[in-house]
Amino acid sequence: MKPTALIAEDEPLLAQALRAELAAAWPELQVLAVVGDGQSAVREALRLLPQVLFFDIRMPGQDGLGAAAELADAWPADEAPMPQLVFVTAYDEYAARAFDAQAIDYVLKPVQAERLQRTVARLQQALELRNSPAVPADDALASTLSQWRKLLAAAGGAAALPGADTAPLKLIAASEAGSSGNTVRMVPIDEVQYFEAADKYVRVLTRSHEYLIRTPLKQLLPQLDPKVFWQVHRAIVVRSEAIESVHRDEAGKMNLDLRGRKEKIPVSRLYAHLFRAM
C-alpha cells in the first residue's frame, strides 16, 4: 500500500514548496489533499484517512493544535490506524523552540531538503513498525497516541507564552456566571472541581457554583499542580481527587463522574491512558 499524506498550510506558496520537497524526498508518498485552514484539515483527514498529517501550527480559523486535538477524538481508529502527525512551523515561533528543547521532530519553514529527509526517514520507520504483524494494533495505537500527546503538550505549552507565570495558583479572581461581572469573587483553588474552556471564557466550577474567567486554559495550565489537576480533554481540566468513577459507553467513548457535580465529563482519547484499570 502506498503511503498517503495530507498537508494543512495556509500560505499557498509554502504549501506548494512542502509538496514539491516531499515529492523529491519521498517519491512514493501520495499527497491526497492540501488545505489552508484547521476545519478543512479535520474534514478532509476524516474523509481521506491519510497515514501522515503535516499540520501548520498557525492557521486561520482553527489552528493546527486545535485541529489535531479534534481529530484525535474523531478519528475512526477501527477503520484506519491513527496517522503520524508532524507539525510545520516557522523558526521564530515559540513551538519551534519547545520542539527543539524536547527533541521532537518537526518540519521547519522554509522547508530544507536535508532536514526534511530526516523527518521522512523517521516517518517511514514508524509506518513500517506499525504495519509489521509483530506489533499488536492496540500497542501501535497507544504509542501513536502518546506521540500526539507529546506533540500537543510541547506546542500547547509553548503557546502559553514563554516566561509566563508558573507560580502555583492559590486564588482565582473570577466573576460569577450570570452576573454582570461587576463583582469579582476570590475562589480558593481548593474548591475548584474542574475547569472547562467555553468559547471566550473558561468556566470555573466548584461543587455549588459556576464562575467565569478570561485567562485561556493554556495559560492557566502551567499555574496548576499537574498532580492535582489533570487535563482529560482539550477543553477540560479536572481535580483528580474529585473523580468518582469512569465509564465507557457503547461507542467506546469515556466519561467521568465527579463528586458533587451531576454532569458527565468527556475524556479525550488522548488522555484515556490516565484511566486504564490498574
Binding site: L13, A20, K109
Partner: protein
Amino acid sequence: MIDALARTFTPENLRDLLRHGITTAVFSSVIAAALAISGRGDWGSQFVYSLSIGMIIWIVIDIGRMLLTRRSEKKWPLGAPGVLLVLSGVAAGFLGGNLIGDAWTDRPYLEFWTFAPHKFASTLLITLVATVAICYFYYSRGKAKYLEGQIALAERDAADARLKLLETQLEPHMLFNTLANLRVLIATDPPRAVAMLDRLNSYLRVTLSGSRALTHPLANEFQRLGDYLELMSVRMGPRLAYRLDLPDDLRDVPVPPLLLQPLVENAIRHGLEPKVEGGEITVGARRESQNLIIDVRDTGAGIDNAQPPSEDGGFGLAQVRERLATVYGARSSLGLVAGPAGGTCATVTLPLPP
C-alpha cells in the same frame, strides 16, 4: 554602619573631597597673603588663621554634604539643608579657626570680639564670601555634570524607543515568512520573485529611513502601504485583496512616516488572518473642510469587545494615538468602529496644513 560608610565615602567622593580640600587651602593662602600685604598682621599668623578657618569649613561642609546626599544622585543638598550647611560650616570655621589662630599667636581667646569689632566684621565677611564662592563654584559644576548625565540618559532612552519602533515595524515573523515565500518563488517563478524582492527592497528602505524623518508626503505613505500589502498578498494568496485610494490633490500632504502601518497590520492580523476566507482591505484618504481623513477598512473578523486585547494588539493603536497627539495635539483623533458590513474601520483625522 560600615556599609553606610562605604556608601558615603566612595572613591569618587574621596577624590572630590581631596580636590575641594586643596582648592580651599590654596584659596585660604591667597586670602592670607592679601591680608598680610594689606598690613593686617604678619604673614605667619595670617596663614594660620586663614588656613584653620578654611580647613574647618571644608571638613564640615564637604563631609556634611556627603552625608546629606547619601541617598540622592545629586551632589549638593537643595533648599534649607544646603543653606544651613554653609552657615554652620562658616560658623564652625570662623569660631574654631580663630581659636586655633589665637592659640598659635598666644593671644587671649577671641579678644578681637570685644575690642576690634570692625576687624571681626571684615573677617567674618571675607570668610562668608569665600565660602559661598567656593561652594557655588562646585555646586554649579556638580549640577552641570548631573545634567549632562541626565541628558545622556534621555538620549539613550530616545534611542531605545526608536529601536523599539523599528523592531515593531520590521516584525521578524513577517520578514522571515516573506523570505520563506521568496525562496519558493526563486525556484518556481523567478520573475515574480524579482518583483517581490523589489517590493521588499523599497519596503525596507522606507522603513529604515522613515524611522528618522519627521514627515513624508502622503503619496510615499501610500506607496509604502502598497509594498507591505503586496508582500502580504503574495503570502496570503487569494485570501487578501486590497485597494488604495489617494486623490491627486492630497498626494503632497506631509504626514508622520509609517503612521498608518500599524493600522494596516492590525487589519491583517486581527481582521483577515483569523478568517478562513480572508477579505479585503481598503485604505482611502479624503478632505473634509480643514481636515484630512484616512480610513483603513477591512472585511475581516470584526471588533470583538468580549475578547481582551492581546498583549501586542493594543500596542499598535496606542502607538498611532501617541504619535498623533505628539504632532497634532487635540486637533487629531483615531477612531475604531465596526464596519457596516462586518469587519473593522479605523479612522485617522488630522488637520490639513493651511
